[in-house]
């Protein structure tokens, strides 16, 4: 046990979204670090399929408390935050509407933060965000995208409700940091992959029209294996001296979109066609123009902002994550891919 953490094992840690793809691994990582005084917050409809497996693996997990509720309920948030020292906020809604995404991300976060500040012993609020908040529209192809890169300033034009929710969530967290002294850290994972999530990242391509359209070309992917990502989140919660900081999470070893797709196709054969970025960008531009001229007869699901964000291509760095949090990926890319692909076999 490292004694220089922000909390001792006696103090309580809340994990929202703890039955989710990343959340369950965060719980497991905390248990591995010797933190058993955990409160796992799940949706009432959750069947706890991920969490049960994790808790069963760790004999010390008997003290782990599992409570269900809705973060849109202030009362439920108060129950979740009572006596908590660290809140790791992973819960996210995937509502397709902007209002729904805003509710699930921003409103839920506001409720949780207020309860945390009132009833907790706030030492750290870890807000798990996403790469969806970045905009590379005005960046060169292949430029470095890091924590200082510009944020999306027109999520409505990008037609990305999830990104909009995450942007507003981050705004709220920063506001509470400035005005109410919330000790926060924002973590932005790249494309998280691993067993339990079979879908390919949208950065590789889309499966919209009945077959897979590969749009990522030879772009570098901001991949992070789920266990590595979970460890980064846990370190963001435990390491002192990083309040107000933002951390991108990508693994050390890089893979291109083409390499990733090829590996997936070797495990599970499926048909795909490749479309080069300039052509994809042009198609998105035409779609966007038609959408505008037809006053939204076709919603602008394909547009230049999305094309840039997902398929233009950037380089990524985990320098800050390594130097400030002392993180290093515990699962190598070869092992990670093996575990990821094993679910398709």
């Amino acid at each position: 046990m490292n004694t220089s953490y922000t909390v001792t094992p006696d103090e309580s840690i809340l994990v929202t979204g703890s039955n989710g793809f990343i959340g369950a691994r965060v719980v497991e990582t905390l248990l591995e670090y010797g933190f058993f005084n955990l409160r796992c917050f799940v949706r009432p409809s959750s069947r706890l399929e991920n969490l049960k497996i994790i808790l069963a693996r760790h004999p010390g997990s008997k003290s782990v408390e599992v409570i269900s509720g809705d973060l849109l309920s202030r009362e439920n948030c108060r129950k979740a935050a009572q006596g908590i020292s660290i809140a790791i906020h992973l819960a996210a809604g995937f509502d397709k509407s902007f209002a729904g995404a805003f509710m699930n991300s921003a409103l839920a976060t506001r409720n949780l933060i207020e309860a945390f500040l009132e009833l907790g012993q706030p030492k750290r609020f870890v807000n798990v965000s996403s790469f969806a908040v970045y905009s590379n529209l005005k960046m060169e192809r292949g430029a470095l995208l890091d924590e200082n890169s510009p944020l999306e300033d027109a999520p409505q034009e990008r037609y990305d409700a999830y990104g909009f929710g995450k942007l507003k969530q981050e705004e709220l967290v920063r506001e509470y940091g400035q005005k109410r002294g919330l000790p926060y850290v924002i973590v932005r994972p790249g494309a998280v992959f691993g067993p339990g999530k079979a879908d390919l990242s949208g950065r590789v391509g889309i499966n919209t029209f009945g077959f897979f359209i590969h749009l990522g070309g030879s772009n570098e992917l901001p991949l992070t294996y789920v266990d590595n990502c979970a460890e980064a989140i846990v370190l963001a919660a435990l390491k002192p001296g990083v309040d107000g900081e933002i951390f991108n999470v990508v693994d050390d070893e890089k893979m291109t979109s083409r390499e990733f797709l090829s590996a997936c196709k070797s495990a599970k054969n499926f048909f795909s066609i490749s479309v080069p970025f300039p052509l994809a960008y042009l198609g998105c531009q035409l779609w966007e123009t038609y959408s505008r001229r037809s006053q939204g007869q076709l919603p602008p699901v394909f547009n230049r902002r999305r094309a840039s964000a997902e398929w233009k291509g950037n380089h990524y760095s985990n320098e800050k994550l390594r130097t400030r949090l002392g993180w290093k990926p515990k699962v190598k890319m070869a092992d990670a891919m093996k575990r990821f692909l094993s679910q398709s076999e």
């Binding site: 409809s45 921003a106 006053q295 007869q297």
Partner: protein, 392 residues
């Protein structure tokens, strides 16, 4: 023509659709967004450049003085909010379901008439292009008189659990607090289609309802999701309503039958088929009618393509059409696009359905004030009694 000042109360998911439709209508402007949760009002205002944001409806009415207020809150708030708006002198567009009970619907409509204001229900699918065409054919006498039978099928796919997940997970979810639960929030579009062609005096309503295995597997508890309803009005027109979360392909269908001809409307494919009663000799009856139907399907498909290319096939066509007609009725002081009789009858039929599906305590169906002339001896009456015993 004066620009209509529009306000919206309730800035959740459906508010986006309202604003998108309003923006395609000339001479109107959304001037205020109001939500009890101010952050919700702010996010809507920010995305649609709405100048004023409020968290209190009374304050909004006083400060923005809108000509029309769209109320898009959960239905429990509809009655009081609409009343406030009418009392403040604003016309009201109420999202479906219009109110929680028929009594509330009647009171609101009476208030609107007293104040010389207009009110309408968000039954926007009534104004889908196919429904507009169907109504024109009926008005032209295609059916050969009053409708003898109407059928409405309305489906909801449980595959997208973003809607049912939260409500199944919480007994305090607003949908679970409605008398008709899941049905209450979903069936009014389908019922309104029937109400348009039924007399206001209904003699029989027979309800069959149960929970699907799928919903059960999702943890549905007492929520039911498979509903069949038989209705007969006093003049003998019958109606059938089917709501299903399970039937595939998902049905969104309407049929209206007359003494001479019938019309079938498939909303999913934007397809209207006129079924005439012409008879054909011998085997021609197997050849000609299917080919005639095929010709109609073909032309409907071409028409949809043509409308798409002209930018006139918006998926929310019905909503824009209803809002535009409502605004027009305000401007020229004509009748609103949905008759008050239809709104009240829809609410009354829904009241009766929910009473049979979720009987309040030991209340018997015979006590229903809505059923004016129940014929208990006939087959429908017996069926109903059986269903009620099963529910009990």
């Amino acid at each position: 023509m004066n620009t209509l000042r529009i306000a919206i109360i309730g800035c959740g998911k459906i508010a986006d659709q309202h604003i998108a439709a309003i923006r395609r209508i000339s001479n109107c402007e959304v001037v205020a967004a109001c939500d009890r949760e101010e952050l919700m009002a702010r996010q809507l205002a920010e995305r649609f450049n709405i100048v004023s944001v409020f968290s209190d409806a009374q304050q909004m009415l006083k400060a923005a003085f809108p000509d029309v207020v769209h109320i898009t809150t959960p239905p429990q708030g509809h009655f009081l909010l609409a009343k406030q708006c009418l009392e403040a002198g604003s016309h009201v567009y109420l999202e479906k379901p219009f109110t929680v009970t028929a009594a509330e619907a009647e009171e609101l409509i009476a208030l609107a008439e007293y104040k010389n204001l207009k009110i309408t229900a968000g039954h926007n699918y009534q104004f889908a292009p196919e429904m507009v065409q169907m109504r024109r054919l009926v008005a032209d006498g295609f059916l050969g008189g009053k409708p003898l039978h109407v059928e409405s099928y309305w489906a909801y796919d449980l595959g997208d659990t973003s809607y049912v997940g939260p409500l199944l997970g919480s007994k305090t979810h607003w949908v679970r607090q409605l008398p008709g639960q899941l049905y209450h929030n979903l069936i009014s579009h389908g019922i309104a289609r029937l109400a348009e062609f039924l007399d206001k005096e209904i003699s029989n309503i027979t309800v069959l309802s149960h929970q699907s295995q799928k919903l059960k597997s999702l943890g549905g508890q007492e929520v039911q999701d498979e509903l069949r309803v038989l209705i007969r009005d006093q003049s003998g027109t019958t109606a059938f309503f089917c709501f299903s979360t399970q039937i595939k392909p998902a049905l969104n269908f309407f049929r209206i039958c007359g003494a001479k001809n019938s019309i079938a409307v498939d909303f999913t494919g934007g397809d209207l088929i006129c079924c005439d009663s012409k008879s054909y000799k011998s085997y021609l009856t197997y050849f000609i009618p299917p080919l005639k139907n095929a010709r109609q399907h073909f032309w409907n498909g071409l028409s949809n393509i043509f409308n798409f290319l002209r930018g006139r096939l918006h998926q929310d066509f019905g909503m824009k059409e209803l809002i535009e007609r409502f605004y027009q009725s305000i401007r020229d002081k004509s009748a609103p696009p949905i008759s008050y009789r239809e709104i009240i009858l829809t609410a009354k039929i829904m009241d009766e359905i929910f009473k049979q599906v979720y009987p309040p305590g030991a209340a018997s169906p015979e006590s229903s004030p809505f059923l004016k002339n129940e014929i208990r001896a006939d087959h429908i009456g017996k069926e109903r009694a059986i269903v009620l015993r099963q529910n009990a």
